[in-house]
């Protein structure tokens, strides 16, 4: 990974990883169950240990998982949340529904105009 990662490149790594069902299953297993070794993952997922090792190496290269020493000198892999949060920012922009929100504002303004005469009348009543 470059020292100063480009935000678009980070998001792309996450989305490419998620587009592959095996890598998606591996990331999901790490998110759900915490750090695990390739062997742990092979017992939990319908993927061969060799394929898991290959995917984990690729995910580590992309910075989406981090390798760390585990028990009995086995390497454990941990999900790295920083790239996921960058992807989340991308999704948040897509999910921000200003179109619907501005429609709601227009509707609200039209509604208060409709009730306005009644309010004005009330305000003019003798004190």
């Amino acid at each position: 990974m470059p020292t100063r990662p480009d935000i678009e490149a980070v998001a792309e790594e996450v989305f490419s990883a998620l587009a592959d069902p095996s890598r998606r299953a591996i990331l999901a297993a790490l998110a759900a169950g915490g750090p695990a070794t390739a062997t742990d993952l092979a017992t939990r997922l319908p993927i061969t240990r060799q394929a898991i090792a290959k995917h984990l190496a690729l995910l580590a290269e992309a910075g989406l998982v981090a390798a760390e020493p585990g028990e009995r000198r086995r390497v454990r892999y941990r999900l790295r949340s920083a790239p996921m949060q960058v992807a989340q920012q991308f999704l948040a922009a897509l999910a921000r529904d200003w179109d619907r929100q501005l429609d709601a504002l227009q509707e609200h303004l039209n509604t208060i105009v409709a009730v306005q005469p009644a309010r004005t009348k009330k305000a003019q009543e003798p004190k």
């Binding site: 990662p5 989340q88 504002l105």
Partner: protein, 145 residues
């Protein structure tokens, strides 16, 4: 294709700026069209909160109040932790027109990397939950003694 760092919309509203301003900057207005309820302390640095009946909440920090032209606030990015330093800035601009108001909303800041200081702290703390759980265990041990 690019990272969607900024969102911009302009709508023509058939109501004068003063009325639109009230809808944007009062608890009554915000609670009617934006959230299901709202509180607001309308001054730069003041806070506002939107709540929805499903329990969802959004906290805002008021940044610009130039009645009845510009209203701006910052808020967190949906899906990121509450204490995350990344925020987006939302600015509403109201321009009077012959038929009412031209309302522009710009939300910027989606394409932010956490600042270096934060990133360093973050990388150093890859212990994450394991670390937190370790502290919990220590706390429980200390209190059991």
């Amino acid at each position: 294709m690019g990272f969607p760092g900024r969102i911009e919309r302009t709508v023509e509203v058939a109501h004068p700026p003063a009325r639109v301003w009230a809808a944007l900057t009062t608890a009554e207005g915000l609670g009617a069209w934006f959230g299901n309820a709202a509180t607001i302390d309308l001054r730069p640095g003041g806070s506002a909160e939107l709540t929805w009946t499903d329990g969802h909440k959004a906290s805002m920090r008021i940044e610009r109040v130039e009645e009845p032209r510009v209203f701006g606030y910052t808020w967190g990015i949906y899906g990121l932790p509450d204490d995350d330093p990344r925020h987006t800035y939302v600015e509403f601009t109201l321009e009077p027109t012959a038929t009412g108001t031209r309302l522009t909303v710009v939300e910027s800041g989606f394409a932010q990397l956490p600042d270096d200081e934060y990133r360093t702290a973050f990388e150093a703390n890859t212990g994450g939950w394991a670390h937190e759980l370790g502290e919990l265990v220590e706390y429980l041990d200390a209190n059991a003694a």
